[in-house]
């Protein structure tokens, strides 16, 4: 039986006799010595992760201007921060986008620029009061001009994360990176063997008040993170630290193409090896950590799980999906996760970082529930028109032109003998064919890769398809691929107008 206390380990840190290893090294030690001897041998196991953590940000205090302003809305490098707290406090969130640069620059980049001690442009507006008469201000600051810059991240260090892949025939740009069509790749996140929360999954040493490594600065766990779901191995933590002490090496603004901005956060937790049970848990390996492969081509809350996979298989570079070898990409950096764990190890060995006893355990029973929605989401079948004209394959472009003129519809689904959709021809396709003098058979002019809608699809999903592909109508198909109706942007506009109680002429977002 090995029993140690945090105080005893801290004494060893003070006198320089502490034995610290990383969680990656600990796996081998536990395997070789067994948990009891490993617990005798090792005092602290350091963990680390370095990944995109969207739920991150910082509280900033600018000090008062003269005359003073109550910043109602405030922008840093054109990225809006939340100003609804007092007069000169604001919270800059990692995913807020720049109003001038769009998706390539956001809150995460502002935070990185502050930490890099670059000059940041501040702009604020106010309504003016007797005590805060000023209505506008613009200035340039660096992080050293702020009274406080305190990182406070509501949800960091996900214990594990789902793997993303894409069964559809189109590339998707997601917060899980570029997902190539037809299971062209799979992306994952999380440090596996070095995952802080996987090395103490029952929160025997990690809790409210635990001292941790956050972006290069000693920092603290505030408590459970948002969406904390430990029973499902999706535990998270809320953390805070002094942004002024952080280093750009362990904190990076990032932008995912087609998704937007985020912040890469380096986070490490030291785990005191108080007994053999804790030693045993820190012996976890990549092979022991299992996660789900989800199909991100489904734009719904519940995405289908394709299979379970271990971090060992993910890290091998390929996983098997549908009988096919699919290449994997991590989005988090294992190289940097190692650096976090080894830097924290070094701090402890040098006597620069003492361990803290948590004040309170993290909850072990919270669940991540869905949003309560009080208004029902309209589906395609509520909006689509069932009256539509189609054209059989084998007909001519001229036939299609006549049908379009007769039917008042600019989109004509092309069907096979058994009514299955095989293509679509639009008035634009016909104009183009005529202009180029190349028109006879429909087959050569129609588009074969048709974007379609299904009956039970929420119209928000359909509206996104129309916007993304810059089109104005979609054929609705059943599960056998038969055309059963059409849905147009006009149908959706009318519905949204009704939903918002506004004039039917109101423009549909993103519609041309």
């Amino acid at each position: 039986m090995v029993e140690k206390t945090v105080q005893e380990i801290n004494q060893k840190i003070k006198d320089g006799s502490v034995h610290v290893v990383t969680a990656e090294q600990m796996t081998g030690i536990v395997e070789e010595l067994g948990p009891e001897d490993a617990a005798r041998e090792v005092d602290v196991v350091t963990t680390g992760t370095f990944g995109a953590m969207c739920s991150s940000g910082a509280f900033l205090n600018f000090g008062h201007s003269d005359p003073p302003i109550k910043m109602q809305r405030v922008w840093l490098n054109d990225v809006e921060a939340y100003g609804g707290i007092a007069a000169v406090d604001a919270y800059i969130g990692a995913t807020q986008l720049s109003e001038s640069r769009g998706m390539e620059y956001g809150g995460g980049h502002v935070i990185e620029d502050l930490v890099a001690r670059k000059s940041v442009h501040i702009r604020a507006v106010a309504y003016g009061t007797d005590c805060y008469p000023r209505k506008n201000i613009e200035t340039e600051i660096t992080i050293d001009d702020l009274n406080q810059a305190i990182m406070l991240n509501p949800r960091n260090a996900y214990q594990r994360y789902n793997v993303a892949t894409n069964s559809s025939d189109r590339t998707l740009y997601t917060y899980m990176g570029t997902l190539l069509p037809n299971y062209g790749n799979a992306t994952y996140s999380g440090a596996g063997v070095l995952s802080p929360l996987y090395n103490d999954p029952d929160f025997e040493t990690i809790g409210r008040g635990s001292k941790i490594f956050l972006c290069g600065a000693p920092s603290y766990i505030i408590g459970e993170g948002t969406q904390h779901e430990p029973q499902n191995d999706f535990a998270t933590i809320m953390v805070t630290g002094d942004l002024k002490e952080m280093s750009r090496e362990f904190l990076r603004g990032a932008a995912f193409h087609g998704y937007g901005a985020t912040l890469y956060v380096g986070l490490g937790i030291p785990i005191p090896i108080l007994n053999e049970n804790i030693a045993k848990k820190t012996g976890i390996s990549d092979a022991d950590i299992i996660t789900n492969v989800l199909d991100y081509s489904s734009p719904r809350r519940s995405r289908p799980t394709l299979r379970k996979v271990s971090y060992e298989e993910l890290k091998s570079g390929t996983i098997e999906l549908d009988g096919k070898e699919v290449r994997t990409s991590p989005l988090s950096s294992f190289f940097m996760a190692r650096k976090v764990a080894s830097t924290l190890k070094h701090w402890i060995e040098q006597g620069n970082f003492m361990l803290s006893q948590p004040m309170e355990k993290l909850p072990t029973d919270t669940v991540f529930g869905p949003m309560k929605q009080t208004k029902e989401t309209p589906l395609v079948k509520d909006v689509m028109s069932r009256k539509m004209i189609t054209i059989r394959q084998g007909k001519s472009v001229e036939d299609a032109a006549k049908l379009i003129m007769r039917g008042q519809s600019t989109h004509l689904p092309v069907t096979s003998e058994d009514d299955r959709l095989i293509g679509i021809i639009t008035a634009w396709d016909i104009s183009k064919a005529v202009a180029q003098g190349k028109y006879d058979k429909l087959d050569r002019t129609m588009t074969r890769r048709v974007i379609t809608a299904t009956l039970d699809e929420p119209i928000d999903v359909t509206a996104r398809k129309l916007e993304k592909h810059n089109i104005s109508a979609l054929p609705v198909i059943d599960k056998d691929g038969k055309v059963i109706g059409m849905i147009t942007s006009d149908d959706i506009s009318r519905l949204i107008a009704k939903r918002n109680g506004c004039h039917p002429q109101a423009p549909l977002e993103g519609k041309q």
């Binding site: 995109a52 062209g184 890469y264 989005l331 041309q512």
Partner: protein
């Protein structure tokens, strides 16, 4: 309201499959407007018998820019022939540039690369094999840190 948009995916152009053999050298050709409409590449292939592989091409009425893989043994001859036709030739030593200060070695670029030009080294840092790169640009889009760009 104009309802006659093209029913086309924006991504059609991304899905061109590129064959690659064992080429060693990559060159960048620039065609001036006055020679832009002539079949220089075909003629150089016929004259030299070199199996040129076009990686990337952008040609319109006023200019032409093409990246070509050239087999090692015919390299000097191919370059000479293009130059004698007035085509500007530059040797592409770095098809894409990896900025090590911006790169955090995540690996988001690895699985989107069709030609496997990117991989992890043993220490989980990123290795770029420039000879394999065909300049498709997928890694540049996939990099969350703007660490990759065309040279």
């Amino acid at each position: 309201m104009d309802a006659t948009h093209r029913h086309l995916s924006k991504e059609n152009s991304r899905e061109n499959v590129v064959f690659r053999g064992d080429y060693d050298m990559k060159i960048f050709l620039r065609f001036a407007p006055e020679i832009n409409q002539e079949p220089h590449i075909s003629e150089v292939i016929l004259e030299t018998g070199a199996k040129l592989n076009i990686n990337k091409a952008s040609v319109d009425a006023v200019s032409g820019e093409v990246v070509v893989d050239v087999p090692d043994e015919k390299f000097n001859e191919v370059v000479k022939r293009f130059r004698s036709r007035g085509v500007e030739v530059s040797i592409l030593e770095h098809p894409v540039i990896l900025d090590e200060d911006e790169c955090i070695n995540c690996g988001a670029c690895i699985s989107v690369c069709h030609v496997k030009a990117l991989c992890f080294k043993d220490d989980w840092s990123i290795a770029l094999d420039e000879k394999r790169c065909n300049q498709c640009g997928a890694c540049i889009t996939a990099c969350p840190h703007g660490a990759l760009e065309f040279s």
